[in-house]
Symmetry: C2
Amino acid sequence: MCELLGMSANVPTDIRFSFSALARRGGDTGPHKDGWGISFYEQKGCRSFHDPNPSAGSELAQLVKNYPIKSRTVIAHVRKANRGRVALENTHPFTRELWGRAWTFAHNGQLKGIKTLPLSFFRPIGTTDSEHAFCWIMDQLCRTYTDYPPAATLDKEIKRLFHILRQMGVFNALLTDGRSLYASCSKKLCYITRQAPFGTASLIDEDIKVDFSTETTPDDRVSVIATQPLTHDEVWTHLTPDSSAIFRKGAFIG
Amino acid sequence: MCELLGMSANVPTDIRFSFSALARRGGDTGPHKDGWGISFYEQKGCRSFHDPNPSAGSELAQLVKNYPIKSRTVIAHVRKANRGRVALENTHPFTRELWGRAWTFAHNGQLKGIKTLPLSFFRPIGTTDSEHAFCWIMDQLCRTYTDYPPAATLDKEIKRLFHILRQMGVFNALLTDGRSLYASCSKKLCYITRQAPFGTASLIDEDIKVDFSTETTPDDRVSVIATQPLTHDEVWTHLTPDSSAIFRKGAFIG
């Protein structure tokens, strides 16, 4: 198992509060010591940090925790390896370009027989089930549409592909093109949407408390999606098992 | 104009000595203040650091300078923007997956009419000439070969594509799949191959001297390719204008 973290916001937002909790679970408060990664979108650009070492003691994770990158869309992952050795090429999130946008993906779970799904254009660099599943999604989208379809069409198609993958095993996953954040919940994924009036929140994994009202404007809206709640004094919504969800500009879309 | 740095080695090698010189040229000893990036290969995995801020004062560049990532293949770039605004998506090196490998590219120069070259599969995320040229190379390779061709075939084809691009303007560029480092020299690119007996070298841009004999074994071989020589007490070979060069396992192949 691994842990996932995603963020969708309507203004560039600092992810450090949530990331510091996830990073602790990478070998400290959690067993996910086989690498970690995080991808931030800034406009159309996307930058990723990957490390096959545990995030809890990682110098790179320390930099990310201290570095005020503000982003509207983030995906992060801490890994407990099951399929695919501990190596940089097997470290999530994975990224591919499609239709002139960077797409990013992270997954927790195992998918039986995923490698029998044929791939034509997008191919895995590493050996994980997860990257194969991601390449399959990209391949399907690329075959079906030569360019960006309307948002409603794309939303429906990605939900359909997620549903197919959930039939093959455990597919808790986050996928984004920097505009929409698509979440698949096989078993375990929850989210919270923070908006005015903002309150305070305290991390479960670390002794950190934040008063969001001092860090936001009244129009800000941020949704955080995670495998398990990251704070103990807010109400997280658990996604229904075997369902998908879409977040855009910080809001739960459906 | 921008500056390029590439490394090909037969053993995982620390790039920090050379990178610290390049980073100084990013807004300090050189005018290349519009972003920088570096990509390291570790086995099949590739990690990149990108920053649209000047490398000379960059916290991220400081981390890279202090972080002993050892790699057989590296491409780095400091940018002086001409085409394409200063933004993360316009920051080199660019990366795409082809045939299950990560390909990385950085360029200096301008290419007239490059955007008239049609693209089918690979598309730019940003707005630079450079990323368009990279996507065109990837598209051409992908159309011609469904999977990795033999090395000699691939070498010849990439040299042919480089030659076409050099007819369109200034195309000093580095391209790699992590195994071979392909260099195109329109006007200005030089290299040095370090091997036993190793000596000492002093950077031009910074008061740093290294005795490579204390850091290497007799079988190590490393080639460093750069826009301008990085050291003042070694003999750098200038590539012939309008030519290509290939480096593999630290050696100049031809």
